[in-house]
């Protein structure tokens, strides 16, 4: 805000200390989770708490993973998330292009529906959607976790904004170069909007990989459950006091994302900020 005047060294030091403390508040719980996941039951029950395990109990992970069909859960998570991202991109790119670059009767009204869909949470519509999918006999497949996310209103909105920023003349030049509309999208629009597409894909990945509510509603057998549900179910299978096992399961769910975050936190942060500002 103000030009930086020379500040007192104590204030500078206090500032750094406070920043360190804040980071600790947000990061320490995760470290604590990892530490617990490697402790023995006795160590978790000790008071005062055990900061570091005497010897890392790797078998906690084996134990947790044997508590349910975790390979199936993991496969389901991967298949569901990847399918959602792929389908969303395929559906959203032509739609965003049409909304951004064509004028046609009803365009604003139809785009209004997209915005409306953006405002209506799945927590409101889950009952009818479930009944519908049950009618179609899909409950024992992965489709109920994929199909409802086929068109991402958020993604269409964001990508349309991005396409609109691409100069009209570029599209016109390509039309004069006798390029088909499909080619304009494939050779120009997509390469020119990679930042937006990456943001949308990343956003989609994080929200569906982490999703709990929707699979909870839409699944009734382990064959179709994702990791989030598997981990949550450890509470029932392992009992609420086996914290070392619960945390081991938790580590399996969280650590992959944390590792990705560690290496590209700046891109992820940018993507989320970008999506928030638009």
């Amino acid at each position: 805000m103000n030009p930086e005047y020379a500040r007192h060294p104590i204030r500078v030091l206090a500032d750094y200390a406070l920043k360190g403390a804040v980071v600790l508040v947000f990061v320490f719980p995760f470290l604590w989770m990892i530490s617990t996941s490697l402790q023995t039951f006795r160590e978790t029950m000790a008071f005062p708490p055990t900061w570091l395990p005497a010897s890392p109990q790797w078998q906690n992970f084996v134990h947790a993973m044997k508590a349910g069909p975790f390979l199936t859960y993991a496969r389901n998570s991967v298949v569901v998330t990847a399918s959602i991202i792929a389908l969303q991109l395929v559906v959203m790119i032509p739609a965003a292009y049409a909304f951004a670059k064509y004028r046609f009767p009803g365009r604003n009204a139809l785009f209004g529906l997209v915005l409306l869909a953006f405002m209506i949470p799945g927590q409101v519509t889950f009952i009818p959607v479930y009944l519908m999918l049950a009618d179609w006999g899909l409950i024992r497949t992965l489709l109920p976790q994929i199909l409802p996310f086929l068109s991402s209103a958020f993604g269409i909105f964001l990508l349309r904004q991005y396409f609109m920023q691409i100069a009209e003349e570029i599209v016109e030049a390509a039309r004069l170069d006798n390029a088909s509309e499909a080619k304009i999208i494939w050779r120009l629009m997509i390469p020119m909007s990679t930042p937006a597409l990456a943001t949308i894909a990343l956003f989609s990945f994080v929200s569906h990989w982490n999703d709990y509510f929707w699979p909870l509603i839409m699944t009734d057998s382990n064959a179709v459950r994702p990791l989030t549900l598997g981990i949550a179910m450890l509470r029932e299978t392992e009992g609420i006091s086996n914290w070392h096992i619960l945390m081991a399961g938790n580590v399996v769910l969280v650590v992959p994302i944390l590792i990705v975050y560690l290496f590209c936190s700046q891109q992820i942060v940018k993507a989320f900020v970008y999506s928030g500002i638009k």
Binding site: L131, M132, Y212
Partner: protein, 292 residues
Amino acid sequence: MPSRGWWPLLRPYVMIAPAMAGIGLFVLYPIFYLIKLSFYKYNLMNKAKSKYIGLDNYHQIFTRGDFYQALGNTALYTVGVVVCTMVLSLLAALWLKRKSRWNRIVQAGIFTPHIVSIVSIALLWMWLMEPNQGLLNYLFKLFGLPPSAWLQSSKTALLSVILVSVWQGIGYYTLIIVAALQSIPPTIYEAAALDNASRTNVFFRITLPLLSPQLFFILVIMTIGSFKVFDTVQVMTGGGPNGATSTIVYYIYQFRTTNIGYSAATGVVLMAIIGLLTFLYFRLLARKVHYQ
């Protein structure tokens, strides 16, 4: 070439068709279905036995204490989360807005919980809030404070859930406000400095108005998000103890198999509340928002 005639006219509709089909099928149609369901006593086993009962479900909602308890909890939760997150993330953003390596690290740090599944967050905090072996009560003891029952007492359970939500959400909103702060042209502040404006004056007359579009956006997003809170409650407390943390969505969830019509009617009520809140925000606040 007859095809040239109608294809360009039809093309935009073909291109948006899959997207609109998805929205129509999974968002718009379910709304009508939901409203229809809310007028029925629905039989999951035998649809033919479902019975039209008019407004009975709604009548029941507004006469049942547990609905009001859920509604009250949700409102308290929303106010708590929105106010705390708003104030804290605004303060954090002002503190961290300068572009420096340290600030980036702190921002990345406080953002971490946002990319982690709410299930993990919930489990993790259940462990931290464990009354006997949990870390939080240990720290309380260390500082000479009486231990808290956290999630296991109806007095503190909702507060504990709010704490977790604020902890998880603060990073995201801080980042958005930081980005907004950084996009304010520095020349405005330089001009204010030349005009000898005080710090509070600069904040209330320049920073806050210029920030208002983002703050408004955050307010709407956060309110809607808070009103549909479910995951934390479902994992951490199961609505308990004694319904102290039951929220509307959890309430709907509870009746989703036993009394579908009633559950649907509650869904309609939730939708109406969210719509009303959004509308009110736009009516009351939109005028005060400064758009550049």
